[in-house]
């Protein structure tokens, strides 16, 4: 296993208990999605893996995270990034005054030789041809989709073994979502990079991943192959908005009570 998380517990500010028992395993080159409602703790899980939790007064109080057989709980974010765990934050964080290529080069900060930087840049442009014509543009002026491409590209520059993508489809046009998810899938297959994808777009996420975990109230409550999750009654009701097979739910029929969740695998 590339990444193993066991019974992870995270507390913010010494009082807010966010994660209460998250367990996950991600294999080498795995393509895994993490589903859950708002506030379930998905982003916190990613931050715990990448180590940036400490910058937000969060602390791992229980359980552990292992990467390549090595504990990374107490490592600094930069040390974790050096090991090949690269996170793309939610809401497109970029150096908006720098150009696209400068942004990408920032991602290659850890690369030692210029040759390698060039090689990597070429790879990014291969996956996102659109970025070629935008290479000298100030990145703050790019469209949302282009920015997202650039950010995934920037992560790719850092020689990742696993990429943690936090809602890459946030605020993007449907066509752009499709395109970006397709590229993510391609990167996973061709570059042997494992992907942990957090997505609100459950349908799209289950379509491109092989395995999924569902979180609720700071716990993983269900896991399984994406194919199986797609037909799980609870997932259908609470995430896909389907009542009977195939029939869409109408907001007009929304009830004031919820069906009991069972999370039966």
């Amino acid at each position: 296993m590339l990444l193993v998380i066991q019974n992870l517990e995270v507390v913010y500010n010494d009082v807010i208990w966010v994660l209460k028992g998250v367990s996950m395993e991600i294999p080498e080159k795995g393509m895994v999605c993490l589903l859950g409602a708002n506030g379930a703790g998905k982003s916190t899980t990613l931050k715990a893996i990448s180590g940036v939790l400490k910058l937000e007064w969060g602390e791992i109080t229980g359980g552990f995270i292992e990467f390549d057989g090595k504990r990374i709980n107490s490592l600094k974010p930069q040390e974790i990034a050096e090991m090949g765990i690269i996170q793309c934050f939610e809401g497109r964080r970029l150096f908006k005054h720098l150009t696209t290529e400068e942004n990408l080069r920032m991602g290659g900060y850890l690369l030692t030789s210029n040759a390698e930087v060039r090689l990597r840049l070429e790879m990014v442009y291969h996956y996102f041809p659109r970025l070629v014509e935008l290479r000298d543009r100030i990145s703050g002026y790019l469209s949302g989709g282009e920015q997202q491409m650039m950010i995934i590209g920037r992560a790719l520059m850092a020689r990742p073994k696993i990429m943690l993508l936090d809602e890459p489809s946030l605020g993007l046009a449907p066509l752009m979502v499709k395109e970006i998810l397709k590229v993510i899938q391609k990167i996973n297959q061709e570059e042997q990079v494992a992907i942990l994808l957090v997505e609100q777009n459950t349908k799209a996420a289950l379509a491109i991943t092989n395995y999924g975990f569902v979180m609720e109230n700071g716990r993983t409550v269900l896991d399984g192959e994406s194919e199986k999750l797609k037909v799980n009654e609870d997932i259908k009701e609470f995430y896909l908005g389907l009542t009977q097979i195939g029939s869409r739910k109408s907001f007009k029929d929304t009830k004031f009570y919820k069906r009991r969740k069972r999370w039966l695998a």
Binding site: Q6, L222, D223, Q244, L264
Partner: protein, 661 residues
């Protein structure tokens, strides 16, 4: 749309609410008022007008309703019912959580001379249909949108129901079916009706007779369809009398109503008992806040099934394990002192040191435990002693919760009850006055005879069942039990549930199961072994406690299936079973077990709504597993169908291990 009678008092703390009342000795003492509930209500409203009668928590604040508010709501609701066509002796089905409206609706119907029929709130539409059809109800009350949807689902099959009344209007705006009507509208109808028929309510209440049927109490139906025992006001009063004779209470004390009113408990205590004694009925904000709300109220009496107490115990265990080191140690030390104290008290070997130590332990640990669990003000807690492990009983004694066991049935109320100062381990106490108990046949069947007042008035629409149960005045309980030389009654099991191994050795699965549930890690279990060589158990692990244990041992898990099948969890359970086996007679000890991959569920007809196992369907459903255990297979693959409450079905496929001890 704030109703006048629903006026909400400003937020006051619970202690403020209580000042000025209480400590008035038991209102009626020996002089019980033999009257119908509505008659008692009218009388109370005159005597205690502005004193609190009901209290409901809404948005975190306790709202109090006086006896006058209570009466007004009941009055206008019943007049509203009349104007909608409700008549004497008709039945009204009520599906809802514990709310004042539940009380108003039943009492309103009773004022007309009608009969209340409570239905469990988590029943599926077909189950609701059974209750409505069997009771021939002409009106139904449904709490909210969810319950109304259930009734609408089966509308075409229950055409006798004239109206469905709901009291929680949220989400009901778009429902145009004239079949449905808001509770407030019914009150409005009642007010109009009063204008044209003054004194109609008072006259109606006066015609009520204490021998009228007050409600139908459905038996749990472990083996077949539930039967409806008819209970008259006189019977309910007589049962209350048996209780309060031993445990005096005071006007204005609090009763906390949280068990589904479809259970006979609230019919006995929440309705009649509180009316007789002037207790305040308190309702929790919602089912999910029961624990916190119960703590704030601290009911003067609590009557609950053994499962309820077992759950309390397991929850307490979870919290203690989560506490810091100091508290955990204090708890452990206090427990061992308490154990010695209780043992010595039973054998009358108490000395000063022992008592002093216990007092200390009580101050340091038990008092706050009782507070946390909501028993600081409790005079008496009762458990249907039938199936509670003596071990657990001792635990509650140590903590200082005044828990007593009784033996009772829906058809004849309390039959035997433990009394303070006369407690024997495992017994259900002595036979109460006015009752006779006879043990007959080689199966030790318990027969009960009681004054007419204390017996139910037959099963509704089931003459045959009534005749076969009541012979020459003796009620055949179908339970097995015995009475020892001191007159203490011991309950064994339902005769129909007793099992025998291949060598003819009899054992009681329910008893073994209750011992199993005594473990913090076992939430439920089904014991099998009829006609086999040894006894085996299907275990349902306690997700919270086993999960906590797994976390402390760094065992990762995601789902229930996942956790239940972990090898270390099997080890844990087998260790627990070894401890429990030591308490069980040698030949009925458990030799093999399986951790089930899912929890027993009433939605799938595996349990009754009162959470008793339904063995026949379970046997069939888990046949593969049971066969697997006895054929010495190690891995058993099972496909189980799961039903969701809205009627959808899914399936779970899992592999379970069988382990031998």
């Amino acid at each position: 749309m704030v109703d006048r009678t629903h006026k909400e008092k400003e937020g006051m703390s619970i202690d403020q609410l209580k000042t000025g009342i209480g400590d008035v000795p038991g209102h009626h003492g020996e002089n019980w008022r033999l009257k119908t509930s509505p008659q008692l209500l009218v009388e109370n409203a005159v005597m205690w007008r502005d004193k609190p009668a009901l209290r409901k928590k809404r948005y975190g604040i306790w709202n109090t309703y006086s006896w006058q508010d209570y009466l007004d709501n009941v009055k206008y609701f019943s007049l509203g019912l009349i104007s909608l066509g409700f008549k004497r002796n008709e039945k009204i089905v009520i599906v809802g959580d514990n709310d004042p409206e539940w009380w108003y609706c039943q009492m309103g119907a009773q004022s007309v001379g009608g009969v209340g029929v409570g239905v469990f709130i988590d029943c599926t539409p077909p189950e609701v249909k059974y209750f409505v059809q069997h009771s021939a109800a002409t009106f139904a009350v449904a709490k909210d949108q969810e319950q109304c949807d259930k009734l609408l689902d089966i509308k075409h099959e229950i055409l006798d129901v004239k109206k469905v009344i709901y009291w929680e209007p949220k989400g009901m705006r778009k429902y145009t079916d004239p079949w449905l009507i808001d509770f407030r509208e019914v009150l409005q109808l009642g007010r109009q009706y009063e204008k044209s028929h003054p004194n109609a309510f008072e006259d109606m209440v006066k015609t009520g007779n204490v021998d009228d049927i007050s409600c139908l109490a459905y038996t749990s139906g472990t083996t077949g369809l539930p039967k409806a025992a008819q209970l008259s006001y006189r019977t309910l009063i007589a049962w209350n009398y048996a209780l309060w004779k031993y445990y005096p209470i005071y006007l204005g004390q609090d009763y906390f109503s949280f068990l589904c009113p479809a259970w006979a408990v609230d019919q006995i205590l929440g309705f009649v008992g509180c009316l007789e004694q002037g207790l305040v009925v308190n309702f929790p904000e919602s089912p999910s806040t029961v624990v916190e709300d119960a703590r704030e109220i601290s009911s003067v009496i609590e009557l609950a099934g053994a499962r309820m107490w077992e759950e309390r115990y397991r929850n307490l265990f979870t919290r203690i394990n989560d506490a810091d080191w100091l508290k955990r140690t204090a708890y452990r030390v206090a427990m061992s002192i308490g154990r010695i104290y209780v043992e010595r008290r039973q054998t009358n070997q108490l000395n000063l040191l022992c008592e002093a130590l216990y007092k200390l332990a009580d101050q340091l640990a038990f008092r706050s435990l009782r507070d946390r669990m909501g028993y600081v003000r409790s005079t008496v807690c009762l458990v249907a002693g039938a199936m509670m492990s003596p071990e657990l009983f001792t635990f509650f004694q140590i903590v200082g919760i005044p828990l007593y066991t009784y033996y009772g049935i829906t058809e004849a109320g309390f039959i035997t009850m433990q009394q303070p100062g006369d407690i024997k381990r495992g017994s259900c106490g002595k036979v109460l006055p006015g009752r006779e108990v006879k043990i007959t046949g080689k199966e030790n069947e318990v027969l009960v005879k009681a004054d007419n007042a204390m017996m139910f008035s037959g099963y509704f629409r089931n003459e045959d069942a009534t005749k076969s149960a009541l012979q020459d005045g003796w009620y055949h309980t179908g339970d097995a039990g015995y009475i020892d030389h001191d007159g203490h009654f011991f309950f064994m099991d339902r005769i129909s549930e007793m099992m025998a191994l291949a060598d003819g050795n009899k054992f009681s699965p329910t008893y073994i199961e209750s011992e199993l549930r005594c473990s913090q890690y076992i939430a439920d279990a089904m014991v099998v072994g009829q006609g086999k060589d040894f006894v085996a158990a299907l275990i349902q692990i306690d997700l919270k406690n086993v999960g906590q244990w797994a976390e402390s041992k760094h065992i990762a898990y995601n789902t229930y299936v996942d956790l239940s099948q972990k090898a270390p969890v099997y080890e844990l359970i087998s260790l627990e079973l070894k401890v429990i086996n030591a308490r069980i007679p040698e030949r009925s000890r458990i030799k093999a077990f399986v951790n089930l991959h899912k929890e027993f569920d009433a939605d799938e007809a595996e349990m009754t709504r009162t959470r008793k196992l339904r063995r026949a369907p379970l046997f069939e459903k888990y046949g593969e597993i049971i066969d697997g255990i006895y054929s010495e297979a190690d891995m058993i693959t099972v496909d189980t169908e799961v039903k969701y409450r809205d009627g959808r079905k899914g399936s779970v496929r899992a592999q379970v291990k069988a382990m031998r001890i």
